[in-house]
């Protein structure tokens, strides 16, 4: 028993290095996708303090809109453009209808509102585009779909999917672009000001409403990118929503407000759950992926309640 837990997995890693590499790669790709969803959460939480449960649904909704439009005869890139417009309208609508009237409500009310939004978007998306899973139009968007295998020692093989590589590249571009946007533009500065202190930002003439709409739009774009990547791995349908729950432990690890935290947290969870599942999961019947991420996050939280990158909390009275 002890052997199975403490020795055997490492022996396996050593004996089949190609497989171990493959596991790490899968963990990396999963981690990137979790990080992208978490990134959407972080953007919104930073700017408005809203824990946006609907981020997972926005991912599906964006993907579904893109594919749905294409299915109805819209050329791929036009559909992409239209989807961006739709996400913009959605962001504006959410700001107008949900966020503005609910400003200054307690966290839990805002959280519930985003869960309400989740329900609404599920119904709305399926109402418009139908409920069956749809194939992502990866090829039409000029995304690579093949795979490359690397020989590795004797009989060894590491297979890299091109789409996964593309996902990683796009994620990096996305984060870099957001970084530039935050640090170099006027709106970015205003956004950081809002994140720091709403009242103070208001008093220097920054429009909160405008910032919120922009942030929701940015989160919508991140969602769209995530939706395309994830959709290319498995089809687009609302079943993906559940996978989005994986982004929550990522947030806990990384802290609710840290963009680097989201990315590193995503990678930790991605690696952790794949390695855990493949080398230790078998001991308890497998499927531990569904909760391992949460347990990792929970244990972590007990030692560092503020997350990886959060600041130490000093309680005051």
């Amino acid at each position: 028993m002890l052997y199975d837990i403490f020795v055997d997995p490492f022996v396996q890693m050593y004996q089949m290095p190609d497989f171990f590499l493959q596991v790490l790669w899968e963990g990396f790709v999963a981690g990137i996708l979790y990080a992208l969803i978490a990134l959407g959460f972080v953007l919104i939480f930073k700017a408005s303090g809203v824990f946006n449960f609907a981020q997972g649904i926005m991912v599906v909704f964006a993907g579904l809109t893109l594919v749905g439009l294409h299915e109805n005869g819209v050329p791929a890139f036009v559909a992409l453009g239209l989807t961006i417009v739709v996400m913009g309208v959605l962001a504006y609508g959410i700001e107008r209808v949900v966020m503005r009237p609910l400003v200054n409500q307690p966290d839990i009310i805002l959280l519930m509102a985003t869960i309400g939004l989740t329900y609404f978007l599920i119904g709305f998306g399926e109402f418009i585009f139908g409920g069956e899973p749809k194939r992502m139009i990866a090829e039409e968007l000029w995304l690579p779909t093949g795979s490359t295998a690397f020989e590795f020692g004797e009989r060894g093989l590491v297979i890299l999917q091109h789409i996964d590589i593309a996902a990683a590249v796009i994620a990096i571009i996305m984060v870099a672009a957001l970084g530039i946007f935050f640090n170099k533009t006027r709106i970015g500065r205003a956004l950081r000001a809002v994140a720091d202190d709403h009242q103070a930002a208001l008093s220097v003439g920054i429009s909160l409403n405008q910032i919120w709409a922009i942030v929701w739009f940015a989160a919508g774009l991140v969602a769209l990118a995530t939706g395309i990547m994830w959709g290319a791995r498995s089809d687009v349908s609302f079943a993906l929503e559940i996978v989005a729950f994986k982004a929550l432990p990522v947030l806990i690890l990384g802290g609710f407000t840290s963009i680097p935290g989201a990315i590193i947290g995503g990678l930790i969870i991605g690696f952790g759950e794949k390695i855990g599942e493949l080398y230790w999961g078998g001991l308890v019947g497998g499927g531990i992926e569904s909760w391992l991420a949460y347990i990792i996050a929970l244990i972590f939280l007990l030692f560092r309640p503020q997350g990886l990158f959060g600041e130490k909390i000093i309680e005051r009275v």
Binding site: M16, F19, Q22, V23, E26, A30, E126, G130, G131, E132, P133, R135, T145, S147, A149, I159, Q161, R233, S234, D235, S237, F238, A239, L240, I242, V243, E273, K274, E277, L278, G281, G282, G285, G286, G287, E289, S290
Partner: protein, 443 residues
Amino acid sequence: MKHLKTLALGTAVALGVSLGGVTPQVAQAEDANYVPLLTYRTGPFAGSGIHIANGMADYLHMLNERDGGIGGVKLAIEECETGYNAQKGVECYEATKGKNALVYNPYSTGITLQLIPKASVDKIPVLSMGYGLSAAADGNTFPWVFNVPDTYWDGASVVIKYIGQQEGGLENLKGKKIGYIFLDAGYGREPIPLLEQLAEKHGFELLKYAVPGKEMQNQSSQWLNVRRDRPDYMIMWGWGAMNPTAIKEAVKIRYPMDKFIGVWWSAGEDDAAAGGAQAKGYKALNFSGVGMDFPALQDIKKLVVDAGKSPTDVESMGGTLYNRGVLNSVIIAEGIRAAQEKTGKKVITGEDMRIGLESLNLDEARLAEIGLAGFAHPMKVTCEDHSGSHPVFIQEWDGEKFVKVTDWIEPMTDTVRPLLEAAAKEYAEKNAPWPERTEPCAN
């Protein structure tokens, strides 16, 4: 804001008041046979469910259009959305059973399991065509449940038999590794006892890969495990979004597709198409015809789909799952017809329907008569055997469509049947006191 609050108060009160009026009308036309269809066109399983739902509804509507129903009595058809959710399924059942429902087709093993104990109490049969509780094939224990034409255990035995054929005999399975990837729910677990039995008997190693329902679209770990274990064959019991994802993942790890065999529910065109060109060679069981070359299907197209009376997409007609839905309705319709003959009544009840299903005999002549010659293997139900363990065939994906690649293969009835009876007995014991069969055999 103040007005908003008044409005909210008003809304709340209005909702409260209208509550009283909700109870669905039990008023049902006296001169129709009422068939509720528990379907799902939403949720993670909609991808498979929509085709089934269309097939089921379209055939029954076609009968109404073409023949004015069955035996001169129209069919009242009502769909109730379950979302593959057991709770909603039961709700649908409770809401519709009072309207003199004839039979239920839950299209979910989970819902089926919940309805089985209710069936004998409410006197409404459950028809779980090729799914549900395998043990329900034992008509003596489960007089109200039908799983014609085959149980999952029949299906699993056919897969093993086929693999044996490929390897040049069942004895060559010794020492082989066979992987079983399944939806981790009642559905996917159902065949495990049989597969384990066969593994012991024929000396192969059974490797199980469970896919949790909520992680259907994220199977990379399971397939990494497959890659590590390198099983000689893979068997899949998948449904909904699990199927296309699994096929994609199999392609991704470069698993030889011709050694990958799905159950009849993993046989959708969309499922295989998701794997792209590399999915060529993927195999699946089937027991219903593929294609549109059947007069009855042409009638559906003409009278229902083209007439705009159905949400069905013309292109999806003739697909495996659509045709499966049609076959389901064929069995319902033939059950009703048999019941009308046996009882002499035109408008029948659930109890009559049970008799009708129990005396179902869909032979070749009858299939031809209803315009479905060769659509399915002739099937027959007896009082003892509610499944019949009918032969099934295997179809292969050629990159565009499924092609039948084997002849009809008989299940290993001699192995399966005793196990079924033992399982039925065990079920009755576990659920003691389980009602004894009191219904006389009408055959």
